[in-house]
């Protein structure tokens, strides 16, 4: 978590380079430096057990509420005497706690969403998220573990992969309908969304391109782009030795949703593209360390000629260690482990992903096939907001055609709460809900304070 910290609090530690002291500063640990900025004050922190808060009667927004008629609701804020965040690791226990009234606010898994939507005693809020869920393909030299060549580098093959997966069925079957198809880097609710007229709806049967025939057609186009002798033997994609192509997919071992999605991808690729997928469960930390991130290259390793232009990796990092020849320790083909932020409020931030082969964040070795750097440069130089909309939209249209990653879905996070609190106080939802839903909230409301 990142948040602003008063400079005066940090200065003594910076001057003395006292890392240990900074780590152990009590004001930083319990956020007591926040003063009257928060509606609640931390009173107790039980590691792995949760946190307890009490009402901050000096909450600074009360003055705003007193001064402005359109913010009058804040004049008596906050409206609860105490608040509590509990840590309940087991998902079924979390949901059961909501059912029994032990907690008032919880993140729900998709398969329980409809149950609570139908429950009159519970209010379910569907919150859009800036994070996408993607199927990454490894375009570096340690990708395409099956054999010679790397078909992932061919745009047509990435399009074939995207056309082979039925996003609607995935959302209905695995997310119980709680998600939206995602065919470009921006979610549909974003101001910078290019609009569906400009997009090819990969993997959307109703309005777009999906199925064995369109997928195989594009795959066959891709086969002509690489040197190795891959071909279709009937409906089966075979390699130079005549064996069926077999690839490795890694998913998060802690996510039942990802496991189901991985199984679905396997079925779709076998049926529509004729290759098999071995799915492997792995914890996110070792995957990040050994597969996703690589040791930065050095010297001549960091220079490559791409489309006739010399590109140098000035600042290699584990997230982009260098050209495709610089790889992580372990080989991998596809992964569903990491979703990425689409930055719908500030599209320029996406330069981290698309600003050329040597962008700040490029573990998969993507080389943009459009002049992304020029687009981002024009965004940076825009002098008025009015200049902006067309620029990111053009960028994200290109991202659809290029399909650097296969954007499968934009899931929504669920927060279910008991309506009695929401009815009395729309701002009663305190605490935070992490994307994996490991926290649930409880609000205690004996009386409405009058002070």
């Amino acid at each position: 978590m990142e948040y602003p910290i008063p400079q005066g609090l940090l200065e003594p530690y910076v001057a003395d380079e006292d890392v240990e002291g900074l780590q152990r500063d009590e004001e930083l640990l319990d956020l007591s430096f926040a003063g009257n900025l928060g509606a609640y004050t931390l009173t107790e922190w039980i590691r792995d057990g949760g946190t307890r808060y009490e009402r901050n009667s000096d909450y600074y927004l009360r003055a705003v509420g007193a001064a402005r008629d359109d913010r009058s609701l804040l004049s008596a804020a906050p409206y609860f005497e105490t608040a509590r965040i509990e840590i309940i690791p087991e998902q079924s226990s979390r949901v059961a706690a909501l059912e029994t009234g032990n907690v008032d606010n919880v993140s729900l898994p998709p398969d329980r969403g409809q149950q609570f939507i139908n429950d009159d005693e519970t209010m379910v809020v569907l919150e859009p998220t800036p994070y996408n869920t993607i199927l990454s393909v490894n375009m570096r030299d340690n990708g395409w573990t099956f054999g010679p060549g790397n078909l992932f580098r061919a745009t047509a093959f990435r399009q074939a992969l995207a056309a082979a997966i039925d996003k609607q069925q995935l959302i209905e079957g695995i997310l119980n309908g709680f998600g939206t198809e995602h065919v470009t880097w921006q979610p549909a609710f974003s101001e910078w969304f290019p609009g569906t007229e400009e997009l090819t709806m990969w993997g959307v049967p109703d309005d777009g391109v999906y199925g064995a025939e369109p997928a195989r057609d594009r795959a066959k186009d891709a086969l002509e782009e690489i040197d190795a002798d891959y071909r279709y033997d009937g409906d089966t994609l075979v390699g130079p030795a005549g064996n069926q192509v077999e690839l490795e997919l890694y998913y998060n071992a802690a996510s039942p949703t990802q496991e189901l999605a991985a199984e679905f991808y396997r079925q779709e690729f076998e049926a529509n593209l004729g290759f098999t997928l071995n799915i492997n469960a792995i914890d996110a930390t070792p995957f990040s360390e050994n597969y996703w991130s690589g040791s930065p290259g050095e010297g001549e390793e960091l220079v490559e000629t791409i489309d006739g232009q010399t590109v140098r990796w000035e600042r290699p990092s584990p997230a982009n260690p260098g050209p495709r020849s610089v790889t992580a320790e372990e080989a991998w083909d596809l992964s569903t482990i990491f979703g990425l932020n689409t930055y719908p409020r500030n599209p320029l931030t996406n330069e981290s992903f698309f600003d050329g082969p040597n962008s700040a964040y490029n573990p998969v070795g993507y080389y943009p096939e459009f002049d992304a750097q020029a687009v981002f440069q024009r965004m940076r130089e825009a002098e008025t907001r009015a200049e902006l909309p067309m620029l990111p939209r053009s960028c994200f249209s290109h991202s659809t055609r290029n399909s650097p990653t296969l954007c499968s879905r934009s899931a929504r996070t669920f927060r279910a709460t008991t309506p009695r609190f929401a009815a009395r106080s729309p701002t009663s939802q305190t605490g935070s809900t992490s994307p994996d839903g490991t926290r649930s909230n409880r609000c205690h409301k004996p009386t409405v304070p009058t002070g």
């Binding site: 780590q23 792995d48 584990p318 700040a360």
Partner: protein
């Protein structure tokens, strides 16, 4: 050697064993990649800085640039002065983290241990006294059920029945409840039940089989001939020799399942105990806390085995350490 010298020798060996285990753990973690270094480099790259310099700086700040023997020596010095370092994951000293974990784990593990030691052998002896009767079959069936069913699954099932449907017990564990209180007893009832049913199976079967051997022994016939009541005959004359081999099973069973069971139960019931502390430390590569936990469990195991050996000789006077 006398028992005094034997205990001293065993304790010295315990220290050596803990040193070996901690050294192995230290080496394994030392050669594992540290995520904070790569995170620092990534952050620097995203902010336009120099990732290589950031990685080197991070390594220097964490002392990872020092030779291995220097880091090991610092670590050993810290261990034996109880300066077990700072837990990055929990933002508190390692000793404080372990104390907090033990505080919550002890609340269910002590009643679990006591009940297991009491119920397991008693059920086994009872089963042996009624061998092959319906009472024996019921007791055996109950023991095997508890042994076979996974603890975490059983815990969830009980939670659904007694917590959700009947609402007799709370769903989530409240760590702020006073330790000695009815509320705490209720919220720990299900975890203790699950753990006891899971651990008495093996103990019950061993005690049943061992005590069956002594039922028709000469001393039992003598006891019956002297008019000793069945209760005293089983509780005193049969139980005692049964406990000699059973003590081995008891100690090893309770030590082996201490961490595994406590982790799964703590996750299901939301108890912030030692199992979760250790597991989270492993996942987040919180080196200091992993090493601290390893040391703690090493001491528990070594002391437990020492207690087992001492109990052995107390239970069976025929065992002597004079010739060792």
């Amino acid at each position: 050697m006398g028992i005094g010298r034997y205990i001293v020798a065993r304790m010295a060996w315990a220290v050596m064993v803990s040193l070996i285990i901690v050294t192995i753990t230290f080496l394994l973690l030392a050669f594992a990649p540290n995520p904070s270094v790569s995170e620092a480099a990534t952050q620097a790259a995203l902010q336009g800085g120099d990732p290589a310099a950031a990685a080197e700086r991070e390594r220097a700040l964490r002392g990872l640039d020092q030779p291995l023997y220097v880091r090991y020596a610092d670590f050993l010095r810290g261990v034996y002065t109880f300066e077990w370092g700072w837990s990055q994951n929990r933002a508190q000293p390692v000793t404080a983290a372990l104390k907090e974990g033990i505080y919550y784990t002890a609340q269910y593990s002590i009643p679990w241990t006591v009940l297991t030691i009491l119920i397991g052998p008693l059920v086994g002896v009872y089963s042996a006294a009624n061998m092959y009767s319906w009472r024996d079959h019921v007791a055996t069936g109950f023991a095997f059920f508890g042994w076979a069913i996974p603890n975490f699954f059983f815990g969830i099932v009980l939670l659904v029945i007694f917590g959700v449907s009947l609402e007799w017990v709370p769903i989530s564990y409240d760590p702020t409840v006073p330790v000695v209180s009815v509320a705490n007893a209720f919220q720990l009832l299900l975890p203790v039940v699950v753990l006891v049913t899971g651990s008495i199976g093996a103990i019950m079967r061993v005690s049943r089989n061992e005590s069956a051997e002594f039922q028709n022994a000469a001393f039992m016939k003598t006891a019956r001939a002297k008019g000793v009541s069945p209760l005293r005959a089983y509780a005193y004359h049969v139980m005692r020799p049964t406990m000699v081999p059973l003590s081995t099973t008891l100690v090893s069973q309770l030590l082996v399942i201490f961490l595994g069971s406590s982790l799964l139960i703590e996750i299901v019931f939301g108890i912030p105990g030692l199992g979760r502390v250790t597991f989270d430390a492993l996942i987040n590569q919180d080196t200091n806390l992993v090493l601290g936990s390893t040391l703690l469990f090493t001491f528990i195991a070594v002391v437990g085995n020492l207690i087992e050996d001492i109990v052995f000789t107390i239970l069976d006077p025929r065992i002597s350490y004079d010739d060792r």
